[in-house]
Amino acid sequence: MTAILEKSTKEIIPSQEMIPEYFRITKTQKDTHDTFTIELEPPKNGFNFTPGQFNMLYMFGVGEVPISISGDPSDRNKLTHTIRAVGSVTRTMQKLKKGDFVGIRGPFGTHWPAEESIGNDIVIVAGGIGLAPLRPSIYHILSNREKYGKVVLLYGTRTPNDILYRKELEQWRARFDLEVLITVDRAASDWKGNVGVVTTLIPRSHFDPFNTVAMVCGPEIMMRFSVQDLLKCGVAVNNIYVSMERNMKCGIGFCGHCQCGSTFICKDGPVYPYNNVKDIFIKREI
């Protein structure tokens, strides 16, 4: 009976999607008080992914978590993950050092429509650690900058100390071909930047709403209100993409934890056209 079950499972899901592979950590970096980035050495043939995809990260003996890939998709020799320490697995990962190993399954999921948006203005709205899954997309757009119109990055976070990739954001802000606006929810009087929710940045940024593709990632409530403001500005509903993260567990649409109606977030998402998930956003039961 077990043999039959094993056989049928293997037929449904290729084994490489179920068995974690060892990746060695080449670098760890503390980003904020609760967020850190690890860089991993992929196998000899490199690691391919598209911006927006995620991996299942395995801490052997502790558990497994889905984490978006936050590095440059064109660099096949480095796999980067930015992680927030919020549960037992990620808190254990926080203690990892260079040379330690992590189990990886992936990459899984859908991607941001960077290629499909060529010729459009791009608005990227990120909240908190939601900047991490969008970063590969930013790298991709910047390395193909001439193919896009205006590119705007709007980033909101809790306090100035919670700003992710601070140095990189400063470099991006210095570019003439990228508009970067940052806001925090609260700050002391020595903060010279914006204070207020990220949605307040949408009408302040300069893009052509009728020719814009928007990519939004952050807490669901932040995405909900950002989408409303993007729509209010005139961005077409079909041009707004969001990244869902609810209850992902297995990464292959097998366990059913992330099922929302007819969709499995880990398999059919995490990146969705907003139009496809707008009903899920207001569904309270799931």
């Binding site: 609760d34 927030r84 320490a85 919020v86 909240g127 908190g128 650690i129 909101g156 976070t157 809790r158 919670d162 806001t183 929810d185 609260r186 700050a187 002391a188 009087s189 903060w191 010279k192 930047g193 914006n194 204070v195 207020g196 929710v197 949605t199 307040t200 009408p203 302040r204 952050g218 807490p219 409530i221 932040m222 209100f225």
Partner: protein
């Protein structure tokens, strides 16, 4: 004589206003400029003006003993600063400090209040427009109170 009327009529906040009302409002308007760090108003002072920010940045702050001044909002180009002039007891609720060189159109609230009393149509129009600002500031405040970036929601 050149007036601020063309500028005011183009501003989204006043767009579509009856020309006679716009003229009345223009009569209460003047250009102002604040240097970086300059205090525009302080909590508790009489609120007798509001501002349409043309460029620059203004931090709305609240002073908390022991914690100092905390910024609760930042207003920039195109934003409306101040609605306490419209609602009794006409006192500022926060401090406003120019974060950088800021240019704005100041509107005399006392003068406008009198005009609104004698012309209720103008009063209703202004109240509708300010209510929408108050609504968006309230929504923004509520979102921040939710602490949506908290790791343990």
């Amino acid at each position: 004589m050149e007036t601020l009327e063309p500028l005011l009529s183009e501003h989204p906040f006043l767009k579509g206003l009856d020309p006679k009302h716009l003229q009345l409002i223009t009569g209460c308007a003047s250009n102002v400029r604040f240097d970086a760090g300059q205090i525009i108003f302080r909590e508790g002072e009489e609120a007798d003006q509001f501002y349409i920010i043309r460029n620059g940045k203004v931090a709305l702050q609240i002073y908390t003993p022991g914690r100092g001044s905390i910024i609760i909002d930042t207003l920039t180009e195109g934003d409306i600063l101040g609605w306490s002039w419209l609602i009794p007891p006409y006192q500022w609720r926060f401090d406003a400090v120019a974060g950088e060189l800021t240019r704005a159109i100041a509107l005399d609230g006392k003068c406008l209040r009198n005009k609104c009393e004698s012309d209720h149509d103008l009063g209703y129009e202004l109240l509708k427009r300010f209510a929408s600002i108050v609504d968006s500031r309230l929504e923004s405040t509520r979102l921040r109170l939710l602490d949506m970036y908290d790791s343990n929601p």
